[in-house]
């Protein structure tokens, strides 16, 4: 399958423009070595090797928002996770972003092909303020917050990520949803030339996800534009993604181009692919197994406990404050 893409002339042209692989891999190797040692010593000793991709170089893009990797900090908040953030290179090097391929190393390898500037987000559906929005008109960059959340993937692994973003409700209120809007749907950018994985029917493209309005307006729910003090890297969903920490990772939408307010529950990508395994809610729940594997515990990626660290999965990923959203609901049925 891979060979087919390499033979595609359009793709080849684009591929030539991306960072030379050796340079990229070197960086990854050096940082991964540092990660496994659990110390920054190697990082400190080899600044020249980690610099080309890691330091903020481009201040702002044509779209007026910071370029991927540019410095972007938010006001510190009380949202923290014991043990602190996962090593950054695990966050940028171990990703699910099927638009670039189903392998964990595909997004960091191919996401460079994606154009993230200019960027426009279309707002439509049950709203009094439909239209196209530039990122800087949606996100108030003077009000960015840093929130350290645990990120739990449905594949039974987790990381701790210091997100930079704003509460989703601060953005949605600007978009004037009508009282008929009960749900909000997000859609990921789609460009078959820039996203090699979308040439395969692994999921229905474009990727869509959705939330109930009360979930979207919950204080924990974020629109993130950065992580680790930098604007989001492309493989992590630059320039705009959602973060819903009590749900499995696939409920988040990366590289958002559309926000749609709806009166009825929208279709979601993984639910369409396999409704028996991925429900609309997909709240982290150690008591409800995925039909094919257990969700009772999770592997800690890049953990200080070494390659074999696991932890017990918590209800709502530890964010018990969302429980009232689901009062009276059978979470076994509404998985």
């Amino acid at each position: 399958m891979d060979l087919k893409f390499r033979r595609n002339p359009d793709y080849q042209t684009l591929r030539d423009e991306i960072t030379p692989e050796r340079m990229f891999m070197d960086r990854r190797h050096i940082l991964s070595a540092a990660g496994f040692l659990g110390a920054g010593s190697i990082l400190g000793a080899l600044p020249a090797c980690s610099e080309p991709e890691q330091t903020p170089t481009a201040p702002a893009t044509a779209g007026g928002h910071p370029a991927p990797g540019a410095a972007l900090t938010g006001k510190k908040t009380a949202f923290a996770v014991a043990g602190g953030a996962t090593v950054e290179d695990a966050f940028t090097g171990y990703c699910n972003f099927y638009e670039f391929g189903t392998g964990k190393e595909d997004p960091p390898r191919y996401a460079n092909l994606m154009t993230v500037s200019p960027w426009q987000v279309t707002v439509e559906g049950e709203t009094d303020a439909p239209g196209g929005y530039a990122l800087k008109d949606l996100i108030d960059y003077s009000k960015l917050e840093e929130r350290v959340y645990r990120h739990r993937c449905v594949e039974a692994w987790s990381m701790v990520v210091p997100w930079v973003g704003v509460p989703m409700r601060s953005v949605l209120s600007k978009l004037k949803p009508k009282s008929t809007a009960k749900f909000v749907q997000f859609e990921t950018y789609l460009n078959k030339k820039e996203m090699p994985g979308t040439n395969r029917p692994s999921l229905q493209w474009p990727y869509v996800e959705g939330l109930r309005m009360d979930e979207a307006n919950h204080d924990l729910t974020l629109f993130a534009v950065g992580a680790y003090g930098k604007a989001l890297q492309k493989q992590n969903g630059a320039p705009l993604r959602t973060v819903i920490p009590w749900k499995y990772g696939f409920k988040a939408t990366k590289s958002i181009v559309k926000i749609r307010f709806l009166a009825t529950q929208p279709g979601t990508a993984w639910n369409k692919a396999n409704a028996n395994e991925y429900g609309f809610y997909s709240n982290v729940n150690p008591n409800v197994s995925h039909p094919r594997w257990s969700q009772a515990s999770e592997r800690v990626i890049g953990g200080k406990g070494g390659f074999n660290e696991r932890r017990d999965t918590e209800m709502f990923n530890g964010y018990q404050q969302v429980a009232p959203l689901y009062a009276g609901m059978d979470l076994r049925k509404n998985y």
Binding site: I30, S32, T102, W157
Partner: protein, 216 residues
């Protein structure tokens, strides 16, 4: 070509040792990766070393098993009969990698917890299929030697080793059910197995109808 002296010498002196080296190579490479990781050096295992390790061993096991099944078609196509002398050791290597795959999963995923393993086997269909695969391989591995052939008789031994087919089907099904989306490696394994099984069906059909045609 099948009877060139060079090829005959290769078959006699080099085929078996070279096969052994080829079968050990994936394990040697894995050992190197682990040595690099434990030394804190760059390696190719990524951020989920446990999962990567048992999946690598499982993929290797399936691929070696498919190679076992490819040997007699290769013999039929090339007419080079000596190639079958490596079939038993390739099959044994498949068993060996399957065992390592189970141990790696038992250690790195279940942390040697027997209740955890039992729970997985009983609740998870794909793990049940995987365990069935390994179980069926045990009698094959035990009898993969000359004295067993003598003891059982060629016919019984051949019939017993026909278990290789259900073993391969179970292994590929285990692989297909493990992934979130059916594509990539598991699909490739299934397609290759399909071709290898169809080859045998074709051979059987041709064998059945040939004498009838001659008689007519």
């Amino acid at each position: 070509m099948a009877h060139s002296p060079l090829l005959r010498a290769f078959g006699k002196h080099w085929l078996k040792p070279l096969t052994l080296v080829a079968l050990i190579a994936p394990l040697a490479w894995l050992a190197c990766q682990w040595a690099l990781m434990l030394a804190g050096l760059p390696n190719d295992m990524g951020w989920n070393v446990g999962q990567w390790t048992h999946r690598y061993l499982g993929d290797t096991a399936i691929r070696v098993l498919l190679v076992t099944l490819a040997i007699s078609p290769i013999r039929d196509i090339t007419g080079w009969a000596p190639i079958v002398i490596i079939r038993r050791r390739v099959g044994l290597a498949a068993f060996f990698y399957t065992t390592l795959h189970l141990l790696a999963y038992f250690w790195l995923d279940r942390n040697w917890s027997l209740p955890g393993l039992i729970q997985d086997v009983t609740l998870r269909t794909y793990i049940m299929l995987g365990m069935a695969t390994l179980t069926l391989m045990i009698p094959l591995a035990i009898t993969s030697n000359n004295s067993s052939i003598k003891k059982l008789g060629r016919k019984t031994w051949d019939r017993l080793h026909g278990l290789t087919y259900p073993v391969a089907i179970l292994a590929v099904a285990h692989n297909l059910l493990m992934v979130k989306i059916i594509e990539g490696d598991p699909t490739n394994h299934a397609v290759i197995l399909g071709v290898l099984l169809l080859w045998r069906v074709g051979r059987w059909v041709i064998g059945k109808f040939k004498p009838a045609q001659v008689a007519a």
